[in-house]
Amino acid sequence: METNSSFYSKNKAYILTLGGLGVVGFIFVQYMMIFDWAYLLGFTLDMLTGGGVDGIITPSTSTYELMVNTAFGQNYEAIAPEIIRASNERQEFIWWVFVAEIAIFCIMYTIYGRKTATITNPNDQVQVFSLFHRGVIWLNVLIIIALIITGFNITWALRSGGGELPYLLRGTHEITGLIWLPFWLLLSIIAFKDAKILSNNSVLKKIILPGKYKPMKRIIYIVFVMMGAGLLTSGIIIWFLHPDAFTHGQFIQFKRLLLYTHFGASVLIMFFLMDFVYSVLVSVKGNLKGLITGKYPREHLEQLAPDILYDIENGKGK
């Protein structure tokens, strides 16, 4: 019993995050999606096992079916109508996900307030972020803000009725996404640089950050890395996989699948990035200055971020 309790308390953040995402995911899949999940899973498995990207997972049984598969790709009904629904409903609906998250933060702020460290010796500073690290962080911030603004180009277009500005935003989103690739990679390496993959045989430790990071921070890092990878991979393939009139049937189902990956990953990464901004900058006073100067008062770290101080003093930080 004690072991179970200990396991729960040690992994509370992971269990609650997975549980919360599971509930939201179940409601989303069960009540808000209309496409054929069996086909979607079958298609994904078929693709991963070398079955090709055309979406044809069952052989044609008639000339007519063969003709349809060759020209248009298989099972249009499985995914495409969901796109139709997504464009007109989700774009309007998606705002409310973030409004709900902000409302939760407001409630938490009201209940828990803002943490402030008591600083008696402001001159005792600890270097937390190097100039390079800060550069990567701030460029990431700028690029992600640009990606969020331009990524909503279709939502802007819904309201403006199209035109040159959303057209420009849409094109900018693609190029900005490509610019983000090296910065995402650098931040991912920074997040995982202490993983000691080569010297540690534990499989779990290969994927979970070492050190004394709080579980919620680990989750945010993992989501950032995984969803970033999903966003960049799907985004770049969507951009460059350009089915023309003659290859449409071979690639369009794959592109439809990637569009979902892109939308899903963008919602998840935004959700956790907002969580990060709240937990690091809003609910704690004094963190923003350190992100600019790179230094924090030792007392600030002792009181509010002992995990970071522990890692720096043990040579695992920065």
Binding site: T63, L66, M67, T70, A71, F72, Y76, A80, I83, I84, S87, N88, Q91, N153, I154, T155, A157, L158, S160, G161, G162, G163, P166, Y167, L169, R170, G171, E174, I175, L178, I238, W239, F240, H242, P243, D244, A245, F246, H248, G249, I252, K255, R256, L259
Partner: protein, 196 residues
Amino acid sequence: MSKPDFARMKFYCDENLCIDCNGCVVACKEAHEVPVGVNRRKVVTVNEGVVGKEISLSMACMHCADAPCQQVCPTDCFYIRADGIVLHDKDVCIGCGYCLYACPFGAPQFPQDGAFGTKGKMDKCTMCAGGPEETNSHEEFHKYGQNRISEGKVPMCASMCSTKALLVGDADEVALIKTYRAATKGKGIATEPMGW
């Protein structure tokens, strides 16, 4: 409101007559000065090389009555004329590609003429009916190509079809031709085309 004396403008391609010559594709591209990389019309061949089973179909925008592209477009750039031709306004299009995801036929085409190959504005078959610009103006030709329908002409692809496999017009009339062809199949000049 009086009952219209026509159905809807439709394409029909007879798979028994199409010989995959791609004349329609070339005629379309030449007539509308369609840029390289964009094909408003394509010829799809099934069972290629299999004797007796190979068929070809010339395809473009099907000008659907319940057009998925129109339903998904976030900017409502599509409009359907009274005669059923589905057209779009390039000044409103933002090139998001939703119409491509929704179209079962792969009709919407996107030139990769932006910076670093980013997509341009959507281009598709207009059934030679131009766009929302002034009819037969330079702007209309530049954006959408010729407006042959306004001149009472058959779209270029069908007019150039050497075997008359590709038909276009009022769906009632097209259906009559198809019925006639089916009834007279194998008789007189209505024989199978010679394949190359």
